[in-house]
Symmetry: C2
Subunit: 348 residues, 2 copies
Amino acid sequence: SRNIRLAVIPGDGIGTEVVTEGLKVLEAVGVKIESTHYDLGATRYHATGETLSDEVLQELRGYDAILLGAIGDPSVPPGILERELLLRLRFELDHYVNLRPVKLFPGVETPLADTLPGDIDMVVVREGTESLYAGAGGVLRRGTPHEIATQESLNTAFGVERVVRYAFARAAERPRKKLTLVHKTNVLTYAGDLWQRTVNRIAPEFPEVTTDYQHIDAASMFFVNQPERFDVIVTDNLFGDIITDIGAAIAGGIGLAASGNINPDRTAPSMFEPVHGSAPDIAGQGKADPTATILSVAMMLDHLGLTEQAARVEQAVADDIVERLAGWAGRTTHEIGDDITARVSGGA
Amino acid sequence: SRNIRLAVIPGDGIGTEVVTEGLKVLEAVGVKIESTHYDLGATRYHATGETLSDEVLQELRGYDAILLGAIGDPSVPPGILERELLLRLRFELDHYVNLRPVKLFPGVETPLADTLPGDIDMVVVREGTESLYAGAGGVLRRGTPHEIATQESLNTAFGVERVVRYAFARAAERPRKKLTLVHKTNVLTYAGDLWQRTVNRIAPEFPEVTTDYQHIDAASMFFVNQPERFDVIVTDNLFGDIITDIGAAIAGGIGLAASGNINPDRTAPSMFEPVHGSAPDIAGQGKADPTATILSVAMMLDHLGLTEQAARVEQAVADDIVERLAGWAGRTTHEIGDDITARVSGGA
Ligand SMILES: CC(C)[C@H](C(=O)O)[C@@H](O)C(=O)O
Ligand SMILES: CC(C)[C@H](C(=O)O)[C@@H](O)C(=O)O
């Protein structure tokens, strides 16, 4: 089989550290990879003013997949790297599914009392190309007492339907076959109505899937006190952003939360990244947990049809986590990467 | 002293049940109350099509305070009662501070492991009259493949400044004197910028207050795994909605979460209500916990300057909760109300 062409964007802060470990594991799993690094992020922005040029974007379209570390640095005003680089990639490459499993691995400490691994096992299907993330809005009389600032959430039948359909298909594949729409239909009446009607309309195509609805506020509460309520969740870009961070918290922390920005139609490469950010406070200290990135690599392998290799990486992580329980705490980023790599190569 | 003129809106579902108990406690605390009930909510809507008439609204302006149970019923399409009744009250009566304490009472079971009462003691100052709650937005080609639906977040310097100033003043009164702005400045760049600049501009007026910033996604995570980070939070209407439900979850559940919709300028009555909804699934069964309403009554007393009485109600609740620990579970709505009433009147 031909090599997999991978674009790597380590990005800022701990991004570069965790990506190194992700690539190490990827190599060990024995797939033929041809990777090219792109030094996008804060450093490049400061040096050249460039966030993401049309040329680089065009080049990125030619890869089979993208592995991204983290984007963002306090030296850059909020929004610039996010909007012009990270979100631009998600939007231009039409990553309309932002897939975020929330799963408590055996051996992981959850902040929730009396919660067992089986209680937290869900997949959040976050829409990735619409809503408040469109960047629409404006400001008048900035800095004066008469300033007004607006943000607009843009939602389309086209955009909602495709992600809802994907979520139904995911739910149909899982043992519990339950799909929960999370929105705020009682306040965001226009967008909420579109989402709810879309779910209602598609439901008959998946008679085996049970559907449910929760407002974002109630769902956030249930994540904490009744996480077993959820199997597959489909939700808007912003609500998905919030709820997956709660998901990361209950499933043992941001160090373990993986994500895939997926283009299910494969008209452009999908992009895999840990849910965590660049964490400038701990950057360069070898303190970052690369597990989220390694699990994102597993998601990438799965997306590329390398299911056996994906399963091997996920199993290696699961085994590594059980060892942590037995007192392997305090490892550096490299050490965790090495340990998981050894398991993947069959050396542990 | 003259009687307190109170408008009571029991509302839907368990709203009527919990309000009965709140009034019982209010009577027992020995303040002179003159109360008038308004049967607003789903029943009235079905009978007359009315949600909130201009006449009733005008009448409500004449009271010293409003006590509200819960609004909303599945028989009414989402948004109608919320927008035309509950949110209309908050907007028209200029409740620009939606005050929601998040406090773990000793004896309450939190879903968080290893968490002590002192770890969760914060106040969320949620903006109450702007942002996505403005109801701005629209829909084109509803029900067709070409449908688009928008929602607009409207934010003003006037609206942001007054709530930020209130939050600073609150923070200055508390031992830790820490104020955290929660927003999503890296995506909602226009509104986020307005909020962040406003906090920065007002901070020098409160040199004793430390300020911090967290994105809504990170803050939601920290509520679960590091709640001790927070003292006073100031945030947007929607983010405040979400985060206070997480707050309710970590502080022992929605049955204990109180709120005040406050008009700090006293140009109209403030309105006090439990954070929970009408819970149609358990309505009429005596299962609802009236504690959140009783704590909202305490907030109301405090707002009316009856601080001694407010403290007495809060203490009665705190004592009642400790008794629960000792095995008083399984009480009905009435029984909990009676027990707290007895303590307030000095009979327990
Ligand atoms: C960095 C930020 C723009 C991003 C988002 O809001 O989507 C992040 O929080 C995430 O969840 O991947
Ligand atoms: C019922 C609903 C409109 C309301 C809100 O979103 O504000 C509720 O969730 C609350 O928090 O009081």
